[in-house]
């Protein structure tokens, strides 16, 4: 017997997605398609004030209006529930209590027979406000005279951290959480030839998922059922249980197809209100937000990042101190987790003697910021990869050489106690440099329109922290396979790629595998569809479940056939024994009777707890995005054109190459949009100026650069099935800095604030 690896048949091919037919035919059911008999429609009254005391609410007229079944104000909240939600800090009320903290804060909710009746009723509610000073952004919130958004400290926790990491709740006024990480000694700066200090600013985007936030809640008959457009059904169940003081087994969360999230659909959004209104009215209640309301519900984090970096003359990086201030908005949401990640990731993919970083979540009177594709890594990469480039140019070193000199080697730990980096980053950098023609580049920049090239490496830990995964795989008598796990199909193709893994292990085809609909009563527990964890974390649990199932079936067959199990193989519900092929079904019927049987096996995976690892568990995999960009800048108009963009991620092994390419294309274009134009514009008094689909600009097909390509590397070092690792966030990370670096290359000036607009370019050139 030779030790030849069996050829993979199901994995590594671009199998049509298992959700394809449902989605292209219009049959796929999403949250807004769910209706129940007798269902009411809810609408929200939102604060027109950025920061104000709520003096009085009079909803008498609204209650008396036709079709109105329930009106929720602070006065209707029962004493026996906890009206606050959040992640580490429970500070967001289901409706405003004594204070509103941003324009769009939820003040009241109405459930009525129709949406129109609910909207009419909202207009009849009279609220008297008394304005408070507005913290319109990070700097305003930190002014000494600015009052605290929260007078009392909300309930909150700091999770345990490992080597070098720590955090504090509410270290100072209007900072809800501060993360810190340190390694090595600050003395390292003393030995540096140069120390550079630079500041960077990061604008914020809204997720702009096309499917709105929506939930349908039915709290009749003891059981609370919620159909939600949600990417973490089990934490949502836990949060509803905690708020409404119900056992978790009296709450069921159902998740249909989700029409995009990009982070926003984690945790409570509409659900607390729809559940409360259902309890009040005794009817099912649907709360579907508009896109304008999405802008007011969850956003990315704007940030100020200050980096102090010590280097040697030859470009060797030695030490970095950094201070990051995230604009958390009015409620903490996932900000503490984003702060952890932004703070931890700011060293980038390089070798250091000393790191000392802090990242603070600053509370402002703007929409709450939360999880967003890249999760702090985008902010950190923007600053770090810009500064590395600036330092290279200051020292007269090619930015490529500077990076090559300092990059961590394959398998070298990111930080003490941390796991080794699982991509060869030099290989990836060479790949994008070659694809764009970086080394031989020659630009004739004698005219007013100048060209330049820039490169960058975005970097984040992937797979979440200490995240468990469970999966169940079942096979019926006839060989039909059920895959059950909590990974939500949000567009990333998880149903397909995980089914490909099962098909490979069981020797069957993807078409024979169904992905069971998510229902928290039946689906194995999962922490959520986030952190690019679908393949590298859940994939391992799925693979183990499939392997356990295969084992179980083969052992059963061996007993029935009275042959050694080691000599059996499973191929699409057929037992292969030498040149004999024995269908499984007759064996099952003989043993279990005519009604048959269902084999069922579970799989589990969790990273080890490890106090030496800074975040208490080693990172599961490293999600790395390489970018190379060629730009043309018109020095007379400031116009910037991206001529060529090459972005690359390393999937380890692409379980489905087209699905992986889709992730990398989409993330890269999202990054490019943020670089050039896409952002939420606040006016300095807490008012969002472009909070609607017409004036908020997202990328269209015409925004694709003339030459746009993504290259999926398969370096093979991933921890997931068949060497795979996660995808979906890598290529958003390097784009902004690669463009800024290219602009610098073209016109010799540095833009340190996103987006990079013609006005900023003219200002930098001294021509504005």
């Amino acid at each position: 017997m030779s030790a030849v690896q069996p050829t993979l048949k199901q994995v590594g091919v671009s199998a049509p997605r298992s959700d394809a037919h449902a989605k292209v035919s219009g049959r796929a059911i999403y949250g807004p398609d769910i209706t129940l008999p007798g269902m009411l429609h809810a609408k929200l009254l939102r604060s027109p004030r950025a920061h104000a005391r709520v003096v009085s609410i009079d909803a008498t007229a609204a209650r008396a209006m036709p079709g109105v079944r329930a009106v929720l104000t602070r006065d209707e909240i029962p004493k026996n529930i906890v009206p606050f939600y959040g992640y580490f800090i429970k500070d967001q009320p289901m409706v405003a209590l004594d204070t509103v903290r941003y324009i769009g804060d939820i003040v009241c909710a109405v459930a009525a027979d129709t949406e129109a009746a609910a909207v009419q009723a909202l207009q009849a509610i009279k609220v008297v406000y008394e304005d408070l000073p507005v913290a319109s952004g990070i700097e305003a919130a930190l002014q000494p005279e600015m009052p605290a958004l929260f007078e009392q400290a909300p309930m909150g926790i700091v999770p345990p951290y490992g080597q070098g990491a720590s955090a504090v709740l509410r270290p100072r006024k209007n900072v809800c959480y501060e993360f810190a990480y340190s390694t090595g000694s600050a003395d390292a700066f003393a030995g540096c030839d140069h120390v550079f200090e630079d500041e960077f600013r990061f604008s914020r985007m809204t997720h702009y998922h096309l499917e709105p936030f929506v939930s349908v809640a039915d709290a009749r008959a003891g059981q609370i059922q919620v159909w939600a457009s949600c990417q973490n059904p089990f934490p949502l169940r836990k949060e509803i249980a905690r708020m409404f003081k119900r056992p978790e087994n009296q709450i069921t969360v159902h998740v249909p197809y989700v029409g995009g999230g990009f982070g926003s659909k984690n945790n409570v959004k509409t659900e607390a209100v729809s559940v409360m209104l259902s309890l009040m009215s005794g009817r099912p209640v649907r709360l579907c937000l508009t896109m304008e309301e999405s802008f007011l519900t969850n956003t990315q984090h704007a940030a100020i990042l200050r980096l102090k970096t010590g280097v040697m003359n030859d470009g060797t990086l030695i030490a970095r101190e950094s201070e990051i201030l995230l604009d958390a908005g009015a409620y903490s949401d996932a900000s503490p987790l984003v702060a952890e990640k932004a703070g931890y990731r700011v060293p980038g993919p390089y070798r250091w003697k000393h790191i000392n970083t802090t990242c603070a979540c600053v509370m402002t009177n703007t929409a709450p910021a939360g999880p967003f594709r890249g999760f702090g890594g985008t902010q950190a990469s923007w600053a770090s990869e810009s500064q590395v480039d600036m330092i290279a140019r200051r020292l007269g070193i090619d930015p490529y050489e500077m990076r090559m000199r300092n990059l961590l080697a394959l398998h070298e730990p990111f930080m003490p106690g941390e796991s080794g980096v699982d991509s060869d980053m030099r290989e990836g950098l060479d790949l994008v440099c070659e694809a764009i023609g970086y080394h031989g580049r020659k630009h004739d920049n004698s005219g007013p329109v100048k060209r330049g090239m820039g490169i960058a490496i975005g970097f984040k830990d992937g797979g979440g922290v200490n995240k468990p995964a469970q999966a169940r795989v079942k096979m019926s008598t006839n060989g039909d396979v059920f895959l059950q796990c909590g990974t939500v199909e949000i567009g990333q193709g998880a149903h397909t790629t995980l089914a490909q893994v099962v098909a490979e292990v069981l020797g069957t085809r993807v078409e024979r595998i169904s992905y069971a609909r998510i229902n928290t009563d039946f689906t194995p527990f999962d922490q959520g569809t986030n952190a690019s964890s679908g393949v590298a974390v859940m994939g391992r649990a799925v693979m183990r479940a499939a392997e356990a199932l295969r084992c179980q079936i083969l052992e059963f067959a061996a007993r029935e056939m009275k042959v050694p199990v080691a000599e059996l193989a499973l191929e699409d519900a057929t037992i292969v024994y030498g040149d004999k092929r024995q269908p499984l079904a007759p064996l099952v019927m003989r043993h279990f009777g005519g009604t048959g049987y269902e084999f069922s096996a579970d799989g589990y995976y969790k990273p080890e707890l490890d106090h030496h690892a800074p975040l208490e568990a080693q990172c599961v995999f490293w999600e790395i995005g390489w970018g190379a960009v060629e730009v043309e800048v018109d020095t007379e108009t400031g116009q910037i054109k991206v001529l060529k963009l090459v972005a690359s991620g390393d999937t380890g092994r692409s379980l489905n190459p087209l699905v992986c390419r889709g992730q990398e294309d989409g993330a890269a274009l999202m990054g490019l949009a943020q670089t050039l134009f896409e952002r939420m514009v606040y006016d300095g008094s807490g008012r969002l100026l472009n909070g609607d689909p017409l004036t908020y600009r997202v990328p269209l097909a015409e925004d694709l650069p003339r030459e746009f390509s993504t290259i999926t590397q398969e370096q093979g070092h991933g921890p997931g099935p068949y060497g795979s690792k996660g995808a979906g966030e890598a290529t958003i990370l390097p784009i902004a800095s690669a463009v800024a670096n290219a602009v610098h290359d073209a016109i010799g000036v540095r833009i340190t604030e996103l987006p990079i607009t013609p006005v900023k370019i003219l200002e930098a050139l001294g021509r504005a």
Binding site: S14, P16, R17, A20, H21, A22, K23, V24, S25, G26, R27, A28, I29, Y30, P32, D33, P66, G67, D113, T114, A116, A117, H207, Y208, H209, L210, E211, P212, Y257, V258, G259, G260, F262, T290, M291, I490, G491, Q492, G493, L658, V659, R661, G662, Q663, D665, G666, A667, A668, L669, M670, D692, P693, L694, V698, P699, L700, A701, E702, L704, F708
Partner: protein
């Protein structure tokens, strides 16, 4: 019956939907999107922005793409409407739908019905579109997931296949 319902005036509506005649009365303020999605249960028409910007709710009216969220139902009186549900023939996906499957030209799928119908109209009017024309048309709809490159490839593939199907 709530009072708000009785005050609403209705419009007698007669049109063809997915090759079937429809006759009914519809409230004057009812949008085509709500009429299809809520009243007729054709949930393939997706409401995204409800402002006629994102294109998720695109249906074809007399072969031309319209944002059904920004069209009143009564406006399709006497017209021919095609929603995503009308594109298959006898359970077989249309060539355009097949191309979207083959190129993985969707992710979350929420924009897909609109994109597919937009493509149908494009290819009905321009059977041999240049890449520039495809980009111009596709730019009237938003896809937040794919980055568009695979959608453009799917449209190109669909155009090729439809041309081949027309060859004798």
């Amino acid at each position: 019956m709530p009072e708000t319902m009785t005050a609403v005036s209705e419009y007698p509506l007669e049109f063809r939907l997915n090759n079937q005649p429809v006759r009914c009365r519809v409230p004057v303020e009812r949008t085509l999107a709500d009429f299809l999605h809520d009243d007729l249960g054709l949930t393939g028409t997706k409401l995204g922005c409800s402002r006629g910007v994102c294109g998720a709710c695109v249906t074809l009216v007399d072969g031309k793409p319209v944002a059904s969220c920004s069209t009143f139902a009564f406006q399709v009186n006497g017209r021919e409407v095609l929603s995503i549900e009308g594109l298959e023939t006898d359970g077989v996906l249309h060539t355009i739908q097949q191309a979207f499957v083959a190129r993985s030209a969707f992710q979350c799928g929420y924009c897909t019905a609109g994109m597919v119908l937009l493509t149908k109209s494009l290819l009905d009017h321009h059977p041999e579109p240049s890449r520039e024309l495809i980009v111009e048309w596709i730019s009237s709809n938003v896809c937040r997931c794919t980055g568009y490159a695979l959608i453009i490839e799917a449209v190109e593939e669909a155009a090729r296949k439809l041309r081949a199907e027309r060859q004798p």
